[in-house]
Symmetry: C4
């Protein structure tokens, strides 16, 4: 079974997720600069979530590039991953509208953590389907970035109850770590070509 429709559907869902978040930024009733002030945390939350969905799309793009075929399990692992990402607009709005309060900050971290776990499951399904010697398997390697992100998400969730802005800083840090598309996959693809 080929991967084309899985990509088309995922692109559609990610494009919608990234775009509907902006609907939470309601145009204020007044027309002064001060009317925009309450929107500042909403806007910052939007930027952060836009970057996160962008990261997922980029990595999905890279990961799927190495994939040849899909099966039923992979379709569901992909849907599972999209499910958690579909909750990003909700937690983004909750966080932004409550000035980065503890519970919304913690829940934002929970959703990011679940999305990362779901992505990890998808990656493992793809590796299982293509073999330990596949490009993807060699590219992901020791998963250091994945392990670090999990630790950071967990600290972000816990520290939200101490000082929510620390959590915000941590979530920004994870985004920075991932903003570079997965060089490992590009390298693995190149090394394969070199061998040929």
């Amino acid at each position: 079974m080929n991967k084309d429709r899985l990509l088309a559907f995922s692109d559609g869902v990610l494009a919608i997720i990234i775009t509907i978040m902006v609907l939470e930024m309601h145009a204020p009733h007044g027309a002064n600069l001060s009317d925009l002030r309450p929107l500042v945390p909403v806007f910052l939350s939007y930027v952060l979530s836009f970057v996160y969905v962008g990261i997922y799309w980029n990595n999905h793009h890279h990961m799927m590039h190495t994939v040849n075929r899909v099966n039923g399990k992979i379709l569901w692992a992909n849907l599972h991953s999209l499910f958690w990402l579909s909750l990003v607009p909700f937690v983004t709005a909750w966080m932004g509208q409550n000035d980065f309060a503890p519970f919304p900050m913690a829940f934002y971290g929970v959703v990011l953590f679940m999305a990362a776990s779901a992505y990890d499951i998808l990656e493992r399904q793809l590796v299982a389907h293509h073999g330990e010697d596949s490009v993807l398997s060699r590219a992901t390697g020791k998963r250091r970035k994945e392990k670090l992100s999990v630790l950071l998400y967990l600290s972000g969730i816990l520290l939200a109850f101490v000082q929510p802005l620390i959590s915000l800083g941590i979530y920004m840090l994870v985004a920075l770590i991932w903003i570079v598309p997965d060089k490992r996959i590009e390298r693995a693809l190149e090394s394969r070509q070199t061998k040929l």
Copy 2:
């Protein structure tokens, strides 16, 4: 006439349906854990409907894989199927916002029943267009899962007026039955390859 645009359009509509449902889950005004409590039934309804739309997308994906060409009747049968699925966000919101009350539960079942019937019509149109000996025709066979689902939907609709939570359980059960992508199609495809 080829099937590419039918797939692209269906993927678009299903991606939008699955994603706009989350818009019904409005971020609460307060920032405490208790503010999320009224959203629990809304969230559960969202999960169930996400799984249902995911099932339709998966099965659509499998079914269309066996199809070579489409005609005007098939385009309309497909649109008819998408029409009923487009009502899923509405009944999901009604059900979730009213804590699984009898009428919303029954209507949720009616929409699922109509979506299933419309999918059935689409399948028959495809079989009619490709012949009784086609992969799809042999794959669907005696339609035992289809007949069972219809019975379960009808009991879900009726039992909503006795105890709505039984209906909820029934709808979850039907989802479980279908969550496995149509193995019959994968088997039929394989058996064809074996013969060759």
Copy 3:
């Protein structure tokens, strides 16, 4: 310049238009059957508009099937056509929420009339780009259905101020006339193949 992205973009816009209309059907607060009653005209409007957008998508699908290449003028003619269709959700909501009152009924007709005119311009641009002897040119022929629709839309707009339900009947009639995908194009394609 090839037509693939024009199709992808149009499919995206039409898929979104057809799906966001359902967002205007807000889940009622109560959970009784009577709470659905005020939604009946909204639902009927949704069905009618769903059919109209479906007709446009089907005909767009058929028309573009005969097309080989596009240019800048065609891109804008297509965007112009999508612009008027993008107003369908607005007039649908206005019509449904006001129980088919005269002005909303007339405006619904105006938007349909403008969408039909824009589609006509697109068709002429395509014919101009492909030559009078092209499949599309021969398929559209004397444009009897187009001329009849224009007359019917105009009567629908005027009669809205006499009896809006007559307009509703007229708009349903036009939908019925077009619900059959453009057989002329299928015939023209076949006759070309026969000659070869």
Copy 4:
């Protein structure tokens, strides 16, 4: 890495942006012609923004036509460009709902200016990736239209505080300058073919 998914994702996002703007045009509660009057500036803002997003889509279509391959930097430059365009619905609503007041008019210009800058960065990344002798590089040439637009946007932003309707006129003027798809790219493509 090929460009197909970048196009599919961009088409999706642009299709959603262009369509959700219409959601800001809420159907009025009354059913008289006078009930539409407050919507006139909202409608005009919608038309202007529809044209702008249409221009971006058209130019993106033309620019990407000359491109063969993409890398991680280009993916992010493209996302950055989509980010600013995703703010168009917000500033459109703010402008339309406040009858073209100074601050909304200025912010509309800021978002257009940022979108143009982001598009410029994307174009430079593509040129850098394909070489100074590529079709795209020769097509964009001296960037006279780009420089003129920047000047016009800046005057639009400043003049909003003198007379916002002048800004509106300026933004319409820039749209007119760009409404013609990039002839330079069509010419550059043709001249290449002539040489061959």
